[in-house]
């Protein structure tokens, strides 16, 4: 593609990516499906979680991601306090040799909503330790600003609770976050289907991170392909400049030269 339909690269945490779709691997049925999802999605960044070594495990997700030259983004899922999250990030750095961390510090199991106080504390500590911190946050513009101020490499506001598929519940807040941010904004969580991902980009987000909507779809590779196109369409639409919404009609056919037929 060239000219007006060119997709500019995404600059994220010191790297450049062609794809604006980041893949969350949680919920993927198996590594064979992951391979097909990676191909269909075109994703160049994928999340992983750290869990106790399973001596029975066959095949490593890291081998699959390496084969597809995908950047590994470890998360701190399952952490409820800043202390747990910081230790988990340090373990991820040791295991995977990356300074990147998708910082998740949630308040409770029912909503999995970020705990703002613990999140900000963890973000500040991890930035000071030299991590490139990508925090999963609420759609609160003030918290997003604080996260940026302590040095986060991006902010990743939710559209709706993790795994809910409820879409972007407060588009206005996402727009406010985009308007003020000087770091990339990645919509994370809540995406249910392709139109939600397109909307995120139309609102001005730089990228989206999609997990459950792809991995738990009836046909994950097919949904990955849909998300890829939705993200591209949303990005191009944002750059194309949409018409302002109006309350009443505005004729698109000319008024002049109209025959008298009445």
């Amino acid at each position: 593609m060239s000219g007006s339909d060119a997709l500019a690269p995404l600059a994220l945490a010191g790297r450049q990516f062609r794809s604006r779709l980041l893949l969350g691997t949680g919920g993927i049925p198996n590594l064979a499906v992951l391979e097909r999802v990676l191909e269909a999605s075109g994703a160049e960044v994928a999340t992983v979680a750290l869990r106790r070594v399973d001596p029975e495990a066959r095949g490593s997700i890291l081998d699959v991601l390496a084969r597809h030259r995908v950047e590994v983004l470890p998360n701190t899922a399952g952490c409820y306090t800043a202390a747990e999250a910081v230790l988990t990030a340090q373990l991820a750095r040791e295991a995977l040799g990356t300074d990147w961390v998708k910082l998740e510090v949630v308040a409770d199991d029912r909503t999995l909503l970020p705990d703002p106080l613990e999140l900000l504390e963890a973000a500040e500590q991890l930035c000071a330790l030299g991590f490139l911190v990508l925090p999963y946050t609420t759609d609160d513009p003030v918290l997003a600003r604080h996260l940026e101020q302590v040095g986060c490499a991006a902010v990743m506001p939710l559209g709706a609770p993790i795994g809910s598929g409820l879409g972007i519940r407060n588009p206005h807040n996402i727009e406010l976050i985009v308007e003020q941010a000087r770091v990339p904004v990645v919509l994370d969580a809540g995406i249910g289907t392709a139109s939600d991902a397109a909307l995120a980009l139309e609102l001005g987000c730089d990228a989206v991170l999609v997990a459950s909507a792809i991995t738990r779809a009836e046909d994950p590779p097919a949904m990955a392909a849909a998300m890829r196109r939705a993200v591209e369409a949303g990005y191009l639409a944002r750059r194309a400049g949409r018409i302002p919404p109006r309350t009443l009609a505005r004729a698109s056919s000319p008024r002049t030269g109209l025959a008298r037929l009445a």
Partner: protein, 66 residues
Amino acid sequence: MTASVNGQRRELPAGTTLGALVDQLAGRRAGVAVALNRQVVPRAAWDVTLVGPDDQVELLSAVAGG
């Protein structure tokens, strides 16, 4: 000597190193991290770090998630 390894009490011979535990349970060292009593132990120190009585060892690796 017993220690907790990934949440399970294990009887370990005296002189067991973290490196030996990783080799035994993970089968490979790449992609693995070790916490000893809630502190990260860099891989360069695994072979010279002994597991002591009642230590808590966590051996972690990447899985699908997030």
